[in-house]
């Protein structure tokens, strides 16, 4: 589903942010990207949804080489990728329902159909009763669930989450991670960037560790969790 071949990313005058990244994520997989701050986790995710362009190397997403993608084709690629951010990026003056249907507005889904999809998605994330509320009146965990609903409402094949629990307390963290696991079980490929070791040991998923822009380990969930305990 997602393949990196000798990918580099560097900004002029600075040392490379990513160096010689080789990675293969299968369809329906759940992958943690971990490593210290500045290791390149966010940049790696940004390369997948074309918020950044690789300096060198090839990136295939769904079999399509996005290193050579035309600017005008980027929006169509992004329609297959849901993105969840640590800082939510919700529109404060729009209701929860409007925030979630925002994606469907962009895709031109008719209003009645969009309303039904939004209702189903809010039910999935447990916020059906908050459809008319404004984001700033919700807790951090609820806001993040709205973001996840927005990211999933158009049934993307890939969900990218950049530190989705970074601003949440442990109870809300579990709530969000359970939701992401549930999404993965439904068939969506999920990549989560996090530096929270407790998440890695609790959820025991494939873990790719980045340090100074390079992949230093790529382990299955059990092995990674064992290493965390040690």
């Amino acid at each position: 589903m997602i393949q990196f071949f000798h990918v580099y990313k560097a900004y002029p005058g600075d040392p490379p942010v990513l160096s010689d990244i080789n990675l293969n994520v299968e369809k329906g997989e759940f992958v943690f990207l971990t490593g210290p701050s500045g290791a390149g986790k966010t940049t790696l995710l940004k390369l997948i949804f074309c918020a950044e362009k690789a300096t060198k190397g090839q990136i295939l997403v769904g079999g399509r080489n996005i290193a050579r993608i035309r600017e005008s084709a980027v929006p169509y690629l992004r329609r297959n990728i849901g993105v969840v951010f640590q800082d939510f990026k919700l529109l404060p003056h729009r209701t929860v329902e409007d925030n979630v249907s925002f994606t469907l507005d962009v895709l031109g889904v008719p209003r009645a159909e969009a309303r039904e999809k939004v209702r189903r998605m809010l039910k999935l994330v447990g916020l059906e009763h908050k459809a008319g509320s404004y984001p700033l009146r919700l807790s951090g965990g609820e806001q993040q669930r709205v973001v996840i609903a927005r990211a999933l409402v158009n049934d993307p094949t890939i969900l990218l989450a950049d530190e989705p629990t970074g601003n949440l307390d442990p109870a809300l963290t579990v709530e969000i991670m359970d939701l992401l696991t549930q999404v993965n079980v439904r068939g969506t490929t999920v990549m989560v960037a996090t530096h929270d070791a407790t998440l890695l040991s609790r959820y025991q998923k494939r873990t790719v560790r980045l340090e100074r822009g390079q992949i230093v380990s790529d382990e299955d969930g059990v092995k990674a969790a064992r290493r965390m305990v040690v």
Partner: protein
């Protein structure tokens, strides 16, 4: 996405934009209105100038002096040729009539003319040229043709004065065109700058739109629609201002400058063609300003 749902979404989004930043949009509408009002006033002034030129041009008279040796039949023959060449009105002035007119114009000094042994003035034809030939080039061509006609001794039509007047009119028109272009350019910059403030306040929305797969055209459309609405509103305000100006001050100005401007000043300040031009210019300004402003925020 169907065209209808797209248009509905864009209109809804544009309405939200206008609602969220009313002050910024007020500034943009006012700027467009002032620019278009100035343009309308300039057009009104240009029309008055045209009227002035036409009225002065109407006073242009060509005098054709005939050779003194022509007999009465030959004079009538030349008159018929001049009439055919000019297409205007031709008045025959006999030497006696010309002398008495000159005496009247000279006043007390005119008595001196009585001492002349004989009348030195030739038979002349006073020619009133039709309106389409009251411009320097046409007058020059007519004078050339008349001079070449047999029996004509000379032609006089105040060539230098006509050319100077036309040069002044050309310079004024060119100056107003340059000033108008500068005003329009400045307006686009001001409208773009004010709209950027409105768009800046919605940058989060643009960022999310881009992240969920909106095309640049989709993101731009509501902002362009906002710009278009501002242009239409600005043009409406400017037209109302011009109409009110014409109603309130037009008659007073017309009365004050009637001796110079002639009857043209009484014409309405807002004509359908001017209204259409200002409306198109307003739409162009609004669209241009919003196009420049929104481009900066699309790089996500």
């Amino acid at each position: 996405m169907s065209a209808l749902s797209k248009v509905t979404y864009f209109c809804r989004s544009a309405a939200v934009g206008l609602k969220h930043s009313p002050f910024v949009h007020f500034i943009a509408v006012t700027t467009i209105a002032i620019a278009l009002f100035s343009a309308g006033m300039a057009r009104g002034a240009a029309r008055v100038l045209d009227n002035l030129l036409a009225s002065l041009g109407g006073e242009v008279e060509v005098t054709v002096y005939l050779s003194p040796e022509l007999d009465a039949d030959e004079v009538h023959g030349v008159r018929a040729r001049v009439l055919a060449l000019s297409g205007g009105e031709v008045t025959l002035v006999s030497p006696d009539a010309a002398l008495s007119r000159l005496r009247a114009e000279l006043g007390d000094l005119g008595e001196a003319l009585a001492e002349l042994p004989e009348n030195p003035l030739p038979v002349s034809l006073e020619l009133r040229v039709p309106p389409e030939r009251r411009n320097p080039d046409a007058l020059l061509a007519l004078a050339k043709a008349l001079r070449a006609a047999p029996g004509v001794a000379g032609v006089d039509y105040g060539e230098a004065a006509v050319q100077r007047l036309s040069a002044i009119a050309r310079a004024l028109r060119f100056g107003s065109l340059v000033a108008f272009a500068v005003v329009l350019g400045a307006t686009v910059v001001i409208v773009a700058a004010t709209l950027q403030l409105a768009i800046y306040s919605r940058r989060g929305e643009i960022e999310i739109q881009k992240l969920v797969g909106a095309t640049d055209r989709f993101v731009k459309a509501p902002f362009l629609l906002e710009g278009l609405l501002q242009g239409v509103l600005g043009a409406a305000v400017a037209l109302f201002g011009l109409w009110a100006f014409g109603r309130v001050l037009g008659p007073t100005l017309g009365a004050l400058f009637a001796f110079l401007l002639g009857p043209g000043v009484a014409a309405p300040w807002v004509e359908p063609r001017l209204a259409l031009e200002l409306l198109c210019a307003g739409c162009g300004l609004g669209l241009g300003g919003s196009f420049v402003a929104v481009g900066r925020f699309l790089r996500v």
